[in-house]
Symmetry: D2
Subunit: 367 residues, 4 copies
Amino acid sequence: MAGSTFGKLFRVTTWGESHGKGIGVVVDGCPAGLPLCEEDIQIFLDRRKPGQSKFTTPRKESDTVEILSGVFEGKTTGTPISMVVWNENQKSKDYSEIASYYRPGHADYPFDEKYGFRDYRGGGRSSGRETIGRVAAGAIAIKLLKQMGISFLTYSESIGPVKISKEHFDVAEIQNNKLYMPDAVAAAKASAYLEKLLEEKNSSGGIIYCEVNGLPVGLGEPVFDKIDANLAKAMFSIGSVKGFEIGDGFGVATATGLENNDSFVMAGASRKPIKTSNHSGGTLGGMTDGAPLTMRVAIKPTPSIAAPQHTVNKSGEDINIEIHGRHDPIIVPRAVVVVETMAAITVLDALLENMSSRIDRIVEFYK
Amino acid sequence: MAGSTFGKLFRVTTWGESHGKGIGVVVDGCPAGLPLCEEDIQIFLDRRKPGQSKFTTPRKESDTVEILSGVFEGKTTGTPISMVVWNENQKSKDYSEIASYYRPGHADYPFDEKYGFRDYRGGGRSSGRETIGRVAAGAIAIKLLKQMGISFLTYSESIGPVKISKEHFDVAEIQNNKLYMPDAVAAAKASAYLEKLLEEKNSSGGIIYCEVNGLPVGLGEPVFDKIDANLAKAMFSIGSVKGFEIGDGFGVATATGLENNDSFVMAGASRKPIKTSNHSGGTLGGMTDGAPLTMRVAIKPTPSIAAPQHTVNKSGEDINIEIHGRHDPIIVPRAVVVVETMAAITVLDALLENMSSRIDRIVEFYK
Amino acid sequence: MAGSTFGKLFRVTTWGESHGKGIGVVVDGCPAGLPLCEEDIQIFLDRRKPGQSKFTTPRKESDTVEILSGVFEGKTTGTPISMVVWNENQKSKDYSEIASYYRPGHADYPFDEKYGFRDYRGGGRSSGRETIGRVAAGAIAIKLLKQMGISFLTYSESIGPVKISKEHFDVAEIQNNKLYMPDAVAAAKASAYLEKLLEEKNSSGGIIYCEVNGLPVGLGEPVFDKIDANLAKAMFSIGSVKGFEIGDGFGVATATGLENNDSFVMAGASRKPIKTSNHSGGTLGGMTDGAPLTMRVAIKPTPSIAAPQHTVNKSGEDINIEIHGRHDPIIVPRAVVVVETMAAITVLDALLENMSSRIDRIVEFYK
Amino acid sequence: MAGSTFGKLFRVTTWGESHGKGIGVVVDGCPAGLPLCEEDIQIFLDRRKPGQSKFTTPRKESDTVEILSGVFEGKTTGTPISMVVWNENQKSKDYSEIASYYRPGHADYPFDEKYGFRDYRGGGRSSGRETIGRVAAGAIAIKLLKQMGISFLTYSESIGPVKISKEHFDVAEIQNNKLYMPDAVAAAKASAYLEKLLEEKNSSGGIIYCEVNGLPVGLGEPVFDKIDANLAKAMFSIGSVKGFEIGDGFGVATATGLENNDSFVMAGASRKPIKTSNHSGGTLGGMTDGAPLTMRVAIKPTPSIAAPQHTVNKSGEDINIEIHGRHDPIIVPRAVVVVETMAAITVLDALLENMSSRIDRIVEFYK
């Protein structure tokens, strides 16, 4: 299980399991001089912590972050920033049953095949709690990017069949409802939908929208390290993600070139080329094009459901199971901040790599 | 423009521009002992070469591959395999006009911002011709994977509004029509649609489907290097890709857990767990789950169109342009083999990395 | 300060500073199924901890390791192994003086230039305490390699002008003296030498020898990732290392080909080629050749000395200083285990990568 | 044989074998805007090409470089620079004998074990000709670094027992003799020594000195990616290197702290701290310290010698051999430019990575 590190210059390494001692992250390559304290991180972690509503697991965790290294006199030093959230509620219940069979929609079977056995307590390494490390790292990235005027807008675009509407769209509403939807009407409908699913011991999927504003033109490396490609990897590295789109996404399949191409015009006081539309989602040839980066992420329904399901056990018997325990009927709202922070980590990394693209700028830098 | 390398153990580095001397690739980390000759590569390159139909650019290129290193006595030696396709038709016409403005839907503007200037002949480094290197590298991966019973099925699923149907689905048909659609009826309709677009100096997008069969369980590294994540990056690294799905993809957003979970049953002579459905697309927790890997890729319409468009030039003037030259009204059919080979490169890399997952297997290996 | 990660498949990321909360490491890519507990790690950490003799800093630290993740039911799970040693004695004395000037032989000046400021408490990130993470990671590598019959022999070969002799060479003696010399006579002389230096408020350098036995033939990748090259990087990444040799090292400069070439003969029951001498130090063309890997590492004298020295302060004044505090007059004995564990990490990584060198072995592996 | 790539941001991938079609390199990540033509590369290749004197192989090769991509209108574009030198003299003589046994001092045996067979024509991938790719890549790095006032001084310090003296030291002399020694008297003695060895069908080792001047302070990443560590890897990745030193190297082992520490003083019009000595070789804590980077590399005697040697063949028989063919009795003079270019590649990579060390500089850069 190498593969716990993401990024090239701003490097994020997560560790920890659902029911181990804690969940942590090491951020290597964070530039020196950024003011940073635990509260900067905590506000992001609070957006994903459990127990925020009836639609999130009742597992009791304060998810309080502790910075262990890399910050001195209130500023990042350029050395690795190690952060940890101690698991408070990891007391293992009896897991002997869950250890014996393969839950549908979970990684139990591949884990056993790949490693010979698995940590069967909760989701183990594949638990959603692993994302704590990503959110903590991304909180730093977002704070850093903010200094350059780069900002993020992320929300639940749909939950099950309930989509937000242009009519009721209101950014301020995102923080008002526990589903992180920018539409109070849709949020209410989605709540009703989720309540029904809870009764049915079932769960729901949904879509998250993320937008990055204020980016310089030219971030991303053509060919394999396109900013789109790195964002796609970032998003698909989040458990439960099954689809990803940039700009018009799958809509381009039925569009024509005339419809899909964004025209340039000269604009603003600075007389820079800007696009009159943004079908491309802010990227051309794998590089940012001056328009907002826009993307959509499809999240599958929580696989842990209490309704009866068929599966097999490790003895090779076909069995019927019901999974009890603390599970979210919907992951989408808590995943909003995960999507946002993964986008931030990816964008920051591209921004750092881009600094070495031109000899004239390098010579100027070292003067 | 670092970022021309893909893969960790099976490493692919491409080079070359549309109108430079040639297009090439270096494959480092190919295991030794694989029988390999140029014909093995050529059959894949022939699937993407221009001039196959009226829907592909009439640019005349034989796209003949030459192996420059890494093969001895008909077998790979374990050393880097360098391959090149010399550009035959790179005689530059007058590019002074195209050099002066930013084509909508192209990377011209980001290139100029990032690098200070650009190779304006054809698509430069962002040309579709760059994929020659990927296809050559992936041809090796596919040949190697075949020795382990792993195979690929890839085709055009839709072109513009024309989708293949279950009714007329026929794998054998894929090679029969130049659109690589497994449905003769759909292919005929798509041809008519494309002819209309050609007349209108317009272009079309579409969707490519890819399936990988015969994979061992457990390939892919949980967390950031999930096989899904690496496939997502692989696909989004192909120019013009705007959307990617694994399994049910965006369909999961409206599904419930009960609908989306795949049940396991014990099956076959080997009495192994297998899934009774494949909503997951062959991956659980970022690892292969024994079912076929299934994915869909959305391709945007060719941005180079002859119809009039608005844009700006480098002098900061708003202008109207018409792009002439040799352009495909649809990229999808030629991109089918690119999607397949990128999938193969990704899968092979995961297969090699997976060898070090268990101490018992390592000890056995070195006995 | 990216650059806190070492290794490709067995990946080691360290974090922490001399006077921060603790020192830690994340090991990603450790194969699953290795029995592991804290005692396995502690015995290695005890070889480098302070306070073992009058020649090591009297800083009081138990250096007790805690495993935070990656081990379940006594075995490694294949997930990241996070380990920490909490700093017990990090109470900061008054560092205002040391913060104001640049200590000769230390990284103070480059740190200030590179990052704009520095953590001036003790050595900060450049403290020898950073090696705790390496030793903890390497302890795992050594345990794993032991299962394949691979073992290490590492000791102090010289301290200042005092060298071990063939005459008194005794492996058992290494653990008997606090200088980790395999020669009681030399150890006594070295002790006397160090006592004299202590009185003079001075310090000493020395040489560490390391040997790896039982390696399969062919580990290491030709060209840039030669096993020699990766070992050289591993050793030079240890603070205070100024020289590295494989086999005869600098001795080859004055040798002839006839003297330096190692002849092969057929030997043993297995009738395998073996070398009759080992000038090469166990590597040919960057790959292991069946003979023991042998290497020597030169360590500079501790730069922190109490004798008066000249330097400059941050205000740009020339000043004279005396550095007080808890410093080792010699680093060599405590660095012995650091050299050994870094060698182990490097060798294990090569062993894992080597598994994908041959198609026949890969096919066999996946059968 | 992954491992044919070196560097993180300035990435060099070499390919090719001694007797294949050619030797090549792809440089990815070269900043855009550097004026570059083939002559810039050729002058470096000419320093390593064969046939310069009676002490180099008479193999006839013009080693003419061709740039295949990445340069447009005389400047680097930021895209991969592919370069090739076609092998002219690769006509294979009868290699059946050499194919049958394991040459002492060569990689034949590990190659066979690792890959199952080997390209036995000449050195195959382990040939000194592989360094053509490094030299071509490094020529670009040196040209780029020159724009920032960074320069290199590299020469043969000793050949066999013959060392250069301070008395006759003359930089201008380096280009005057074919041994690249900065001392005409030593060069004459070394020539006589080599002539004697030629008669005896024997060969010699030696030492190369390299110095880098004009570096900014702070290049290199503390911990694993110290500039010393990356240089050590760079040098040990060159075939035949058996020892490496920075600054005083192994001399530090017998020095005391008082002797080895370099004092700082304020100096020059700029009133910057500078060191009054340079025992450290220009690096403190893995970062450049403002003094010249100084290093020494030990090169083993050419293993291919015509004198009789004992070895084994692939049938497991003990045999005596004499190796005939075109071999250098000394590698050192031709390796001088290889050492210099590998140092340049390493330094440039550190210089690019260092740009992201401080938030204030990043914010300034993107203003």
